[in-house]
């Protein structure tokens, strides 16, 4: 691996300025009471001391994107004859996600298996993925809702990142993870990390120690399948869920989308936008039939997708990065850790009275 570098806190803005030349740099910044990823510009101070409210998902998977434009064009000779022209969007501009957490970068690995597989390559996704680099901040300390270590990750996980930043006294230690990352670290503002690297390692070790005990998700794919028809279980698990989409939209790994046309006169766009499996309309068929008619069915699919169906398809990989946003930003504190653990622990025929309670800390 390339040499580790050191960035002085005082040089952070200057380095961001360098990085922002020729690319869009998304950094976590304060917006009202929330911390969201927005393009950096001179004067913006990134919020690096806490996990952002939203994940940087939109950097690679925008909340809405044009798949193409369409226009109906009348033949001037014969106005009854109308042809349709389709126009694909421009290539995405280069981008950098700066100051996301390891769970944020790791989220895209879960996308990759679906959007960029030997069978199916989603050109919009792949183009943005290739155009986007990740300079990720190692977490110095865990939150109550963190469980990255239960899904095969950790506070200094480098998977999915191009460079890892670790906060140390007076600045950050930077380690390149990928060739893209090595390029990014070539700035003259960065010096040799020297003994700061050892300090960074200590920060990482402390972070691991700060994590609450990991919930045990072993066997979740089979356990959730075994519970599929136990609607009593799912009605209990979803009782307090209000069936909104906060969990899915804040989630770094939720990748479902809708496609809709927005038309204005003779032209319009076909758009892909984030969709939400907790919504009744998500699976509503034109006939009026809905295979997932209640929130119990829908929560079952959400939990099942992440901890059962996806791992069964993708060699055991859980479709969750453990960032905990679905728990901490849920208006009613639905706790996915608890639901999965309950499904694993309870025998398939267990009595119905188990009410979701605080997660095991």
């Amino acid at each position: 691996m390339a040499q580790a570098k050191f960035l002085k806190e005082a040089d952070l803005a200057a380095w961001l300025g360098e990085l922002a030349k020729g690319r869009k740099v998304l950094v976590p910044q304060k917006d009202g009471d929330a911390v969201v990823f927005k393009p950096w510009h001179e004067g913006v101070k990134p919020v690096l001391d806490r996990q952002a409210t939203e994940s940087p998902k939109k950097a690679v998977f925008p909340a809405s994107e044009k798949l193409f434009r369409f226009s109906y064009i009348k033949d001037p000779e014969n106005p009854g004859k109308v042809r349709v022209e389709l126009e694909e969007p421009e290539k995405p501009e280069p981008a950098l996600v700066f100051g996301g957490r390891p769970c944020d970068a790791r989220g895209f690995l879960i996308f990759d298996r679906v959007y960029d597989s030997p069978k199916t390559r989603d050109s919009y996704y792949v183009a943005r993925r290739e155009a986007t680099a990740f300079v990720t901040l190692a977490c110095p300390e865990a939150s109550n809702t963190c469980f990255c270590h239960a899904v095969g990750s950790g506070p200094a996980d480098t998977a999915g990142s191009d460079a890892l930043m670790t906060p140390v006294e007076g600045g950050y230690v930077l380690e390149a993870i990928s060739p893209k990352g090595e390029e990014l670290l070539k700035s003259p503002l960065l010096s040799d990390a020297g003994d700061k690297l050892a300090q960074a390692e200590r920060v990482k070790a402390q972070a691991v120690e700060s994590l609450p005990p990991a919930p045990d998700f072993a066997g979740s794919p089979e356990a959730l399948m075994a519970r599929f028809d136990d609607m009593g279980f799912w009605e209990n698990a979803s009782a307090k869920c209000i069936s909104c989409g906060a969990c899915t939209y804040l989630c770094p790994t939720c990748y479902c989308f809708s496609i809709t046309d927005e038309e204005s006169g003779m032209k319009g766009v076909r758009m892909r936008s984030w969709d939400n499996c907790m919504s009744y309309q998500f699976t509503l068929e034109a006939s009026g039939h809905n295979p997932r008619p209640t929130k119990a069915h829908r929560l079952k699919n959400r939990v099942g997708h992440k901890f059962s169906y996806y791992p069964l398809i993708h060699k055991g990989a859980i479709a969750c990065c453990g960032c905990g946003r679905c728990i901490k930003s849920c208006p009613v504190s639905v706790d996915i850790r608890e639901i999965v653990t309950m499904a694993i622990e309870a025998a398939p025929t267990a009595e119905e009275s188990a009410q979701p309670q605080g997660a095991k800390q």
């Binding site: 806490r50 109550n144 309309q281 901490k328 009613v332 706790d335």
Partner: protein, 318 residues
């Protein structure tokens, strides 16, 4: 006996007649309570009562029609129940309402501003007029009056307005009248300023519709115009125009119905101050119809009734 103990025994006494009772229990950390669905005595033992009970359990009632449901309410929650009864969205005979005096609930946003973030809370205790939060090893003593939700500071209904069982001592109103000073202050800005404010706030909306789904009176939920294609009033794009359009429809739909429980704002994961929109409309409703939602089970919301001549609307005078 303390309020919580009285509540627990009152619920236990009724439990056998009910399918379930909705209240609050401990959540994933000491700061977060979570709605609790009680079906057995063991569940009732988990019940919490106090300033962490931020959620409005009335939100669940329309979805539980046909079941015999007990619901524990704060004063503001009871107004939602009344409004649901007024609109015949729930049946009185299917409800058993447990009330207790509420001195106010905390606003997580205010605690967040005091702490920086809410990620590392280890302990929370209520000590006199303060809430003491230990987070990341540091203790923060926050006066309840300062971190209480704004709605609590102007609350005139600390005690459930409707209940089958009420435990504890009634609390006096915090103020005599809601003067809508916050709305007036906002109205004093220019149209451009107000427009810019909302554009800025709506930008970060993620269109999750937690505001809608947390609202006890947004009962269309599964058939909302937000995602409907017919009518196709709102596009699916990530733009302020469509997001704002939804909030406008949402607020208009609640005019004269909204009891200002604030769930829309509390539920918003990105902290958009949505209650202000509803308060603006309620202020108009108050002026035009001298009406306040959710205080009288026998009243009819003004926009659901028709009068040939309205007292405060001069229809023919222009």
């Amino acid at each position: 006996m303390s309020v919580i103990d009285e509540l627990k025994s009152a619920i236990k006494a009724k439990l056998s007649e009910l399918d379930l009772v909705i209240g609050w229990g401990p959540g994933f950390d000491p700061l977060h309570a979570t709605p609790l669905f009680m079906r057995c005595e063991k569940d009732v033992d988990k019940l919490l009562w106090g300033p962490l009970n931020v959620h409005n359990p009335a939100t669940y009632l329309p979805g539980l029609k046909g079941k015999k449901v007990g619901v524990v309410v704060k004063g503001c929650d009871s107004r939602s129940v009344i409004e649901l009864l007024q609109e015949k969205l729930v049946k009185r005979e299917e409800l058993v309402i447990f009330g207790a005096p509420c001195a106010g609930v905390i606003d997580m946003g205010k605690v967040r501003r005091a702490l920086g973030d809410l990620d590392k809370v280890n302990a929370v205790s209520i000590e006199g007029d303060n809430v003491v939060v230990t987070a990341g090893g540091k203790q923060h003593t926050l006066p309840l009056a300062e971190v209480a939700a704004d709605k609590c500071g102007r609350c005139r209904y600390h005690n459930a307005l409707i209940s089958d069982v009420f435990v504890g001592e009634h609390l006096p109103p915090s103020v005599e009248q809601d003067d809508y000073a916050d709305v007036e202050a906002f109205e004093s800005q220019s149209l451009e300023e107000r427009n810019a404010y909302w554009k800025r706030e709506m930008q970060r909306c993620i269109r999750c519709y937690a505001c809608r789904n947390a609202c006890p009176l947004c009962v269309c939920r599964d058939h909302c115009i937000a995602q409907s294609r017919d009518p196709h009033w709102i596009g699916q794009g990530d733009n302020v125009g469509d997001k704002w359009m939804f909030q406008m429809i949402h607020a208009q739909h609640l005019a004269g119905r909204c009891t200002e429980c604030g769930e829309c704002q509390r539920a918003c994961p990105v902290g958009i101050p949505l209650l202000a929109l509803k308060r603006k409309l309620n202020k108009e409703i108050k002026e035009l119809f001298d009406y306040e939602a959710g205080v009288d089970p026998n009243a009819c919301p003004p926009l659901q009734s028709f009068k040939v001549e309205e007292e405060h609307i001069n229809e023919r005078g222009w």
